[in-house]
């Protein structure tokens, strides 16, 4: 497995729901040790690694560290643990899932999301998804006191899901959104470091927090850096499953990263879209337009920060995003990395912000 994917596996396995991204940040700091000019951590936990460029034009490269998760809200007398979602879930992917429950610096214990068995449902309940407030986490505790030995209100839970290859070059794992962006950023820094490159842009590699709840750490970071241009690296939900009409597929796995023209947070500038697509074409990197207006990402905050920032979003097409089993094509990782690297190392004169 390529080095970038090895790092991605480690990052995906880390416990990092929103506002608890510390484990992910620790892994990234360890990976990047000694490969940057400046490292800052802001008060909410955004990590920014700067590599100085030949010019003072600033390029912000951003990926978020947090993943969708659950927060423990109550423990009942029988030791069952109730929760609230942290991030957007399709309720249908929760029931039955194995979890790790805990907090940063605390031992994680196994649990699972459960509700009544099908045999115990009324006829009205059958055929319907169980609402989140009727589900609970079971850790095998006997009572409230017993459960409290392991779990406190305010602790988190994330999916327990392995990172595996299957099919023709596909990979499944949790938290692909957006550890894949984090891994690509690290890969670019490694490349710059190994090849002793001085980029044209002054590069700010931003590993942000809290994207999944919308009130993103990228706001703080963008306001602080005031970049001239921004590249957001993301994972995007796609519907390239059998039977889906072409106009609803969004994008196809295996055909390279997507470049967005519009989502629910951003209407991207056409010169930014053309810039990214042209770089892909000129360098034989597969890439595709995201052919559907849906979702949103940190670009929504970044492009509106300060006096406005020319922003482009490059995303890995990912099936079943926000579930325990996100699926992407490993070739897309490579294409995404190469396209992002081309953008990062592009001379300022050849970009829309020249």
């Amino acid at each position: 497995m390529a080095k970038g994917l090895q790092l991605l596996e480690k990052l995906c396995q880390a416990f990092g729901p929103t506002s608890c991204e510390y484990e992910v940040a620790d892994l990234i700091c360890e990976e990047l040790q000694g490969k940057y000019d400046e490292h800052t951590v802001d008060f909410i936990g955004d990590h920014v690694f700067r590599i100085k460029g030949k010019t003072d034009r600033k390029l912000m490269l951003s990926a978020h560290m947090d993943e969708v998760g659950l927060m423990i809200s109550a423990i009942d007398e029988h030791g069952y643990i109730y929760f609230q979602p942290v991030g957007g879930f399709d309720v249908k992917v929760l029931c039955g899932r194995k979890l790790f429950v805990g907090d940063y610096g605390k031992e994680k214990i196994s649990g699972l999301i459960a509700s009544k068995a099908i045999h115990q449902q009324s006829w009205e309940e059958r055929g319907k998804a169980t609402p989140i407030n009727k589900m609970y986490i079971d850790i095998g505790a006997k009572s409230k006191e017993d459960a409290e030995k392991y779990v406190s209100v305010g602790d988190y839970a994330v999916f327990d899901s392995d990172f595996i290859r299957f099919g023709d070059g596909m990979i499944k794992g949790k938290a692909i959104d957006d550890r894949i962006g984090c891994a690509v950023l690290c890969d670019i820094i490694n490349y710059i470091h190994e090849n002793k490159i001085t980029p044209d842009f002054d590069l700010y590699f931003c590993f942000t927090v809290r994207e999944e709840v919308g009130r993103s750490g990228a706001v703080v970071t963008a306001n602080r850096i005031k970049p001239d241009m921004a590249l957001v690296l993301e994972a995007t939900a796609v519907g390239d499953i059998a039977g889906t009409p072409a106009h609803k597929r969004v994008a196809d796995t295996g055909k390279g990263p997507t470049v967005s023209f519009m989502d629910h947070g951003t209407a991207y500038r056409s010169e930014m879209i053309d810039f990214a697509m042209k770089l892909g074409r000129d360098n034989d990197i597969p890439c595709q337009l995201k052919r559907y207006v849906s979702g949103g990402n940190d670009a929504g905050h970044i492009h509106k920060s300060s006096g406005g920032v020319k922003t482009v979003a490059v995303s890995c097409p990912t099936r079943y995003i926000h579930s325990a089993s996100c699926v992407f094509n490993e070739a897309d990782y490579d294409s995404m990395y190469r396209l992002a690297r081309q953008i990062a190392l592009c001379p300022v004169s050849e970009t829309p912000v020249k």
């Binding site: 992917v93 068995a117 609970y136 850790i139 939900a237 519907g239």
Partner: protein
């Protein structure tokens, strides 16, 4: 005491979707070699293990647990290597979107059940897809999928056997293989205690579909049958006054039912009480929903009782049982078999 976790992991790891239980051969041979004189497969697919009588005069006692489990089967290969499936047994469709599965084709393959992205879902976000509308993503090309995955290939949940607190474990297929574990543990105890009678372990098949158990029992005609299956444990959101209040950790649940054998069952309950075995009793007057429904009337009739291990999240890949309950079930059954043997032995 047998290593219950080890037995559970041996029995639940292979393919045993109803009708495809032969994926378990290795585990079954292990059990045969360790505890029995003989193992054979009945025409309808059930496995019969026999430990011959070492002394005369004992009744022939059969312990039944079914070894099949719910699962899926491939019905069509679609474009881009997606598979259409149908259910084998009653699947809980709430847990299917984005679930991991193992496809037992010409090779053992990983797959994930499709979770339709929100923009493609029509109507009510809370309505669940039907199994026949779901697909499995194999990540393969159509050509490759067709080559490796014939129509009719069984599919089961992919899972990891996990320990929870208080000796609870979480996994799939505990319905009903955890009861097979209890039966084996009971037989190990009887062997260690020098019990001399014939012991029959019936691991019946196709329970989730067609009750193939009756064919095996017809041939065996035991004097007594002890059926063990799992029962739904009480969990939050269930009506507290529901007939079943047993929860995981309460010990085995004994079913009183007009269609099993009330006198035989009451004797079992008396025995449990007298000797201080942890247990609960429930009434299922006219149906137990298990093999114990069918066995009493096979052939010349078989006195049958049902003892259940409480289980949470039945028919999912996250079933939860307590190994303490399993151990208690084994101890109770072993003790009772000794008493039955003693009666015949005079």
């Amino acid at each position: 005491m047998a290593d219950l976790f080890d037995l559970a992991s041996r029995l639940t790891c292979g393919c045993s979707v109803s009708g495809f239980e032969h994926g378990q051969e290795e585990a079954l041979e292990y059990i045969r070699d360790k505890y029995f004189d003989e193992m054979r497969r009945e025409p309808a697919g059930s496995y019969v293990f026999v430990r011959h009588a070492k002394k005369p005069g004992y009744p022939r006692i059969m312990f039944d647990a079914h070894m099949d489990e719910v699962g899926m089967m491939v019905t069509q290969i679609l474009d881009d290597g997606f598979l259409r499936i149908t259910s084998i047994g009653g699947l809980d469709t709430r847990i299917l979107p984005a679930a991991d599965v193992t496809i037992y084709g010409k090779e053992t393959l990983y797959g994930v059940i499709v979770s339709t992205p929100p923009h493609l879902q029509s109507g009510d976000a809370m309505s669940l897809p039907k199994v026949d509308d779901l697909m499995i993503d194999t990540g393969l090309s159509k050509e490759k999928a067709e080559e490796l995955i014939p129509v009719g290939t069984p599919v089961s949940y992919r899972f990891k056997l996990t320990r929870l607190q208080n000796n609870c474990i979480c996994g799939k297929g505990f319905d009903d293989k955890i009861c097979a574990v209890a039966g084996i543990a009971a037989i190990e105890q009887l062997i260690n205690d020098g019990y001399g009678g014939e012991l029959i372990l019936l691991l019946s098949t196709k329970e989730e579909i067609s009750r193939a158990v009756v064919a095996a029992v017809y041939e065996l005609q035991p004097d007594y049958a002890i059926v063990s299956d799992v029962c739904c444990a009480w969990v939050p959101e269930c009506d507290k006054d529901a007939k079943r209040k047993t929860t995981v950790g309460d010990g085995p649940e004994i079913s009183l039912s007009a269609i099993t054998d009330v006198r035989f069952t009451k004797r079992f309950i008396e025995f449990a009480k007298k000797n201080g075995y942890r247990h609960t009793v429930c009434v299922e007057a006219t149906s137990t929903g298990t093999n114990a429904n069918d066995i009493p009337l096979v052939g010349l009739g078989v006195p049958t009782l049902l003892v259940s291990v409480p289980l949470k999240n039945m028919h999912t890949y996250s079933e939860v049982v307590s190994l303490d309950d399993v151990a208690d079930t084994a101890a109770l059954v072993a003790g009772f078999i000794k008493e039955l043997g003693g009666e015949h032995n005079g």
